[in-house]
């Protein structure tokens, strides 16, 4: 294999990086590797492009879908900005907020791989607070509940569960109105 920096000499040294279980390698010749490590004096992190990583992830997920037989045969396209899923796979960038909705089936596993999670629990815009606030509170409580259960603190967990049920009750009433 040729060196990835000079693309001339044979690559004899390999740097490896692991993020979120994904392995990335960069292959360099002896000369480039020495200037490389001189220059950075550290593991060469800046050379790893997040978009490469994304593309790899997306392909892995596609493969998984294919094996499971769930990959839709038709071309997926955003109904608002008309970005196709293939274009997204190439650039790693979504086109508009509707893309998140229209590509959700494909995106959810990607988000889980990237973040270890696919659901938001943080800040909520003031404008959608009220209702969303409770939903996020419930999500947070559920997370805490799981932690308590895993620590076998059942008494505290039962209290959390009651809190969740109460909040869910309030939401249901609101929705019914």
């Amino acid at each position: 294999m040729l060196c990835q920096i000079c693309k001339k000499k044979e690559a004899t040294i390999t740097f490896t990086k692991i993020v979120g279980g994904q392995k990335k390698e960069i292959h360099l010749c002896k000369d480039c590797a020495s200037t490389f490590s001189d220059k950075f004096s550290i593991f060469p992190l800046p050379q790893f492009d997040i978009n490469d990583l994304l593309a790899d992830l997306l392909n892995a997920i596609d493969l998984y879908h294919k094996e499971e037989g769930v990959l839709p045969s038709k071309k997926i396209e955003c109904s608002n900005c008309h970005l196709t899923y293939d274009e997204f796979k190439q650039s790693g960038k979504l086109g508009c907020s509707v893309c998140y909705h229209d590509f959700r089936e494909q995106l959810t596993p990607l988000l889980r791989r990237l973040h270890g999670n696919s659901e938001h629990v943080g800040k909520i815009p003031l404008q959608s607070k009220g209702k969303l606030n409770k939903i996020s509170k419930i999500k947070q409580l559920r997370k805490e509940l799981q932690e308590l259960v895993s620590k076998e603190e059942y008494e505290k967990a039962a209290k959390k569960r009651d809190e969740i049920l109460k909040l869910e009750g309030v939401l249901k009433k609101k929705n019914a109105k």
Binding site: F43, P46, C81, L94, S118, G122
Partner: protein
């Protein structure tokens, strides 16, 4: 908003020193600065890379409106990057007010808003419509979060953010979705670098979802033993959790650096003194100096000052110099384009003047 033209704004920016550089925040001997940025988009408009010209203009005008009408932004300036020369854009990068991507992108209506103290800046029409960033000296992410959260609320009074209950704040790149928050801490780790301890730490923290970058963020080199550690995960954790986790990780790195500093001080004090005073000697008398050499020596000098083995200059001056000696900043100060050799001369003059005070 301060209504001034481009040349006045840039001139002021050249003369002023950002507050986050002052070296007076918590743990300043090791932590240069803390930073949080939020990625936000406006509902109903495609993300900037996919927006039409009229939509980009719309976003830019919205940002103008926000800072004109809101008292929180009364001392803020707005620059349209289309109007800047490449040198001026690069100067904003070196000031840490915009990203390299933002400076080099060709898209029209890219803006940069920043306040007088340079603690707050907003990139308009970067990859996301708004990238709000706040920088403070030393380790103080919680204070930054309080401040930037308020700014975020204030902007939201004027616009509706693209937000989904499931994915949170929606962003151009799925690596930012959720909180849209990237928190980072800039560390100066000369002792760990001396004992070749950086590698292990970087390997360990990249395994648990943190990224290490150079002085100027994504895709930049590590220089002067400065490392920027930031969170990778933005979804599924609350802002407070992200901050808390990042601080814990950084605290561990800081503890290691402190321990090695202590060990070095008790075992090799003479070498450390020699190293710091030699750095001071060269910096205060060199007539030609490259930015690479200057950064290396400033790192050694900073190390010595942090350990208390050399009494001056103070950390604020060293931090400031690390910015001033960069190529574009240097040329802005000189008021003209300089070739690399002239820059090396100019750089030496600048360092001598600052250090001998």
């Amino acid at each position: 908003m301060q209504n001034k033209d481009k040349s006045i704004i840039l001139n002021n920016l050249k003369e002023s020193s950002a507050k986050w550089v002052n070296g007076q925040g918590p743990l300043s001997d090791i932590v240069i600065s803390s930073r949080i940025r939020l990625a936000r988009n406006i509902e109903g408009i495609p993300f900037s890379p996919r927006a039409e010209q009229a939509e980009l203009k719309n976003i830019f005008e919205l940002s103008q409106q926000v800072i004109e009408e809101d008292s929180l932004f009364q001392d803020s300036n707005l620059l349209l990057l289309d109007e800047l020369t490449p040198l001026e854009s690069q100067f904003l990068v070196e000031k840490h007010l915009v990203s390299i991507y933002h400076a080099r992108e060709k898209r029209p209506y890219r803006g940069c808003i920043f306040n007088q103290k340079e603690t707050l800046s907003i990139m308009v029409n970067e990859e996301d419509h708004f990238r709000i960033q706040c920088l403070l000296s030393g380790l103080q992410l919680n204070n930054i979060w309080k401040f930037i959260n308020k700014i975020d609320d204030e902007i939201e009074k004027k616009v509706t953010y693209a937000f989904s209950e499931k994915e949170g704040y929606l962003t151009s790149c799925p690596t930012n979705v959720g909180t849209g928050m990237r928190a980072s801490i800039m560390l100066h780790l000369p002792a760990l670098a001396m004992v070749n301890g950086i590698n292990d730490i970087l390997k360990a923290i990249s395994k648990i979802g943190y990224v290490v970058r150079g002085f100027y963020g994504e895709g930049t080199e590590v220089m002067g033993n400065l490392f920027q550690v930031s969170n990778q995960i933005t979804l599924g954790l609350s802002e407070e959790e992200i901050i808390d986790n990042l601080e814990k990780v950084n605290q561990q790195i800081i503890n290691k650096e402190q321990k090695v500093r202590k060990d070095l001080l008790s075992n090799s004090k003479n070498q450390l003194e020699d190293q710091a005073w030699r750095a001071y000697g060269i910096l205060s008398s060199a007539r030609i100096i490259s930015s690479v050499e200057a950064m290396e020596l400033l790192s050694k000098l900073r190390f010595g000052v942090g350990l208390g083995i050399i009494p001056h200059p103070d950390l604020g001056i060293i931090n400031k110099l690390m910015l001033l000696i960069q190529p574009a900043y240097l040329q802005m100060l000189a008021g003209k384009d300089l070739d690399p050799f002239d820059r090396d001369i100019q750089r030496a003059v600048l360092i001598r003047n600052e250090i001998r005070h």
